[in-house]
Symmetry: none
Subunit: 246 residues, 2 copies
Amino acid sequence: MNTTRSGRPALTRPDGTPLRVLVVDDDPDLAEVLSGALRYEGWQIRTAGDGASAVAAARELLPDAVVLDVMLPDTDGFAVLRALHTVKADVCVLFLTARDAVEDRIKGITAGGDDYVTKPFSLEEVVARLRGLLRRAGMARQLDEGPRLTVGDLVMDEDAREVTRGGELIELSPTEFELLRFLMRNPRRVLSKAQILDRVWSYDFGGRAHVVELYISYLRKKVDAGREPLIHTVRGAGYVIKPATP
Amino acid sequence: MNTTRSGRPALTRPDGTPLRVLVVDDDPDLAEVLSGALRYEGWQIRTAGDGASAVAAARELLPDAVVLDVMLPDTDGFAVLRALHTVKADVCVLFLTARDAVEDRIKGITAGGDDYVTKPFSLEEVVARLRGLLRRAGMARQLDEGPRLTVGDLVMDEDAREVTRGGELIELSPTEFELLRFLMRNPRRVLSKAQILDRVWSYDFGGRAHVVELYISYLRKKVDAGREPLIHTVRGAGYVIKPATP
DNA sequence: GGAACCTCTCAGGACCCTCTGAACCGGCCC
DNA sequence: GGGCCGGTTCAGAGGGTCCTGAGAGGTTCC
């Protein structure tokens, strides 16, 4: 079976083969970071640096999804999108865009089922959006948990952005939510602070690992408050989330 | 089963296969945006840029419906309409027309049960009109909710453009109505302001996301006033509508 | 021509989120 | 015991998000 590097089953195509994703960005460093994170999900990745080679690569790879920087050196996003759809009509597209980009350039481009994230983004967010897109488009087989993550009596609904423990609703800030999602996607697995920082915080974040400790403490107050703890510290190594009674 | 990208069941042909829609517009960007939105409904889409290729495409695709720009470079809408009907007599047509177009000519065209929207339109409106058209023409199987949307004790009758909560009638302006419809068609799913702007506001709207907040506040005053709130803010993410007691 | 309505912009203000700095706490090693 | 280190917690500044009210411009309908 096709699995991720972390050992859990990968989201695959309906026939069980790895999902195929094309990453298009003119910044090679960023493209590398992105494809690393997506490869980690067990997917088959290819990269391109401009619109023309993106279309060429798509013709060969026939990807299930494309991660597409809107600002490319040679073409505009609409043209690439159109070309991609003629290559493969049902392809999903996740756009990358600068926060201060002229909004109407983006406007409409995501009007379909497609989605976008603004730079600077966190890898966890890109992966989550991509998984959501692929799941909803029926491109992915439900080998994983689907839109719902569970650890013990703690449940997260990613689409509704709702978290409950023992049926009781827990309100989380955006960062808290993303941190908890990362933990819950890797249950029973010790995650180092550096790993968490790389995944949950955006790639240009300069701060130190102290933030992670801080947000873990926020999470504990909301998730573990007065109950059997799910979040555990592993001194010198990092943090784990795991069910209370294994 | 055939489903939309948002996961809810799609409106399909009577035999269960996806509805086939042809989009005809000479502006390729607009055609792309439109087909994206219609693909999102789970339908099979094809595009054409002028009258001649529209008729050719129709001969191949045998579409259930056609979205047709009245102003085409080569032919006028009436000629295309006539040609389309010789290809497939029972085809539904949704016309796209400029606001200042001669209204009685359009009225004459649409007398046969067809419909039209004026540019600039919102995607939500195009989709809704098309769904209504297909439903009334008996082209579509009622796998979805039909003309009535329900979230808790809030009920919207799309055809009558009537909204009630707990039986009490709520008066809404056109924009308020369309915003609420979009929310109610995606219950329990967090919708970002950009997403809402893309679907509910017309494609040429240049303004910023602030309008969405404003209209959400209008809706709350009318829909949630003094009652258990159905519309919720998810800070940093968007808005959701969901029943009070799940 | 006027009134009512709808839509959108602008500015003010409340609140929340995020991160920093610093104090505190407990285990571990010398 | 004393110092050190990793981790936890608290307090607070700052920045951002979101809500609201006032009002201008446009449209529709008498």
